[in-house]
Symmetry: C2
Subunit: 241 residues, 2 copies
């Protein structure tokens, strides 16, 4: 049986999603709990993609193969998992379903506090704590929408062959001092959201103009984009198949 | 010179506000940083009141006496304090000002998640994760407003002489799955907000009727009220002088 799980996690105390030797990662915790449920027969988990250290997920997805009563799996798994990972939903899928290759859309949110430093938010909202020109940032977001080669916004040493991605929606909203930037796309390169947000912040600081996004995209070289925004403001919100 | 500070803290990693031997508390951190700034001459801090372990503050207030340039104090103090305490504002006050005795109003919020468990909120919102009858809870809140003897909602072994307090506002609002209960009063007894919220939750579960609030108040005995709600959903939001 192949199962698809939807799950959330607090990235604060993980070295990211992906398994790494001797590090606490989300994948390692999931596989450990599933292997326990599978009577110590190793279960391997394939997610929609990795998330970096300290990045959160409200709707990450992954598939795995094992035999278990589908209606009991959510409860059994949640009782074994630590309190910073939570299974939201479990369903059976076809044997050829793949949590990474079958993705049609992904949604990420990035949260920024432009007001006074708030200690209760320090691991969940980027504490920028100064004003930003949100109108300029909104103009810049329009240039990011659509199909582009996003190599300038990818991790420097990313050796992918194809840096073409489509952003369907890129929007900014403000609620009191909380700014949320929302991206929906067919896929995102490693560091791509954080590099876009870092560049957008520089636009909000008037260090760059919104129009520079067009030039940066054209250069296809990481050195032209802005700094990588901090991980704690980033959330993988939804994966669509 | 007497200074009044407004400050916020994340209660998660503190054994409450008040100093305790060999425990990490907010008061101990504040006094240690102030004493450093005061060239190792001990500074004692008096807050508007204590908060319990894991309870947060967005606008706690305290006073202390020392000599320091008022315009530099916020920055100097924040550079010494740990990242889970933050000074929002510092001002000079008269020598007879007292952060506890001069309080005219206090505002507390209690946050409840009635949707799916969210790991990123686990230390900041009570994860109730089931539905509640919010209309019944709103009816009950009306009975809590006004001047009453709140002994039934106080800590069992509280030996105060006067349990009379006035609640000016008691309101419930809902934003998606986040329920916020807001109390403004002239003062609150120890555990009073958490005991009121615990009772309100039992009303939302139909284990009690809203009208039972009147009877509980009349009894003036802790055994008649509901359970003490968990600390992590509680925020001291504002102190008014």
């Amino acid at each position: 049986m192949r199962y698809l799980i939807e799950f959330s996690y607090d990235g604060s105390n993980f070295y990211g999603y992906q398994k790494q030797k001797d590090k606490r990662t989300v994948q390692q915790c999931l596989e450990a709990s599933l292997t326990t449920l599978n009577r110590e027969n190793k279960v391997l988990v394939s997610a929609s993609g990795r998330t970096d250290a300290k990045v959160h997920a409200l709707g990450q997805c992954a598939h795995f193969d094992m035999k278990y009563e589908v209606k009991d799996l959510k409860k059994a798994l949640n009782s074994l998992l630590p309190e910073d990972i939570h299974i939201i939903n479990v369903k059976e899928v076809q044997d050829n379903f793949h949590a990474r290759f079958n993705v049609t859309k992904k949604e990420y949110h990035y949260k920024i506090n432009i007001g006074e430093y708030n200690p209760t938010e320090r691991n969940y909202v980027y504490q920028y704590n100064k004003d930003l020109d949100l109108e300029s940032m909104k103009k810049a977001l329009v240039y990011l929408e659509g199909e582009h080669n996003f190599k300038s916004f990818a991790k420097t040493d990313d050796n992918k062959e194809n840096f073409i991605r489509t952003i369907y929606e890129a929007e900014l909203s403000k609620d009191n001092n909380l700014v949320t930037i929302r991206f929906i796309g067919n896929g995102f390169l490693r560091y791509m959201v954080r590099n876009m947000v870092g560049t957008l912040i520089e636009i909000g600081e008037h260090k760059r103009t919104p129009e520079e996004i067009l030039e940066i995209l054209k250069k296809e070289n990481r050195i032209y984009a802005g700094k990588t925004a901090k991980p704690e403001g980033l959330y993988l919100v939804k994966v669509t198949y």
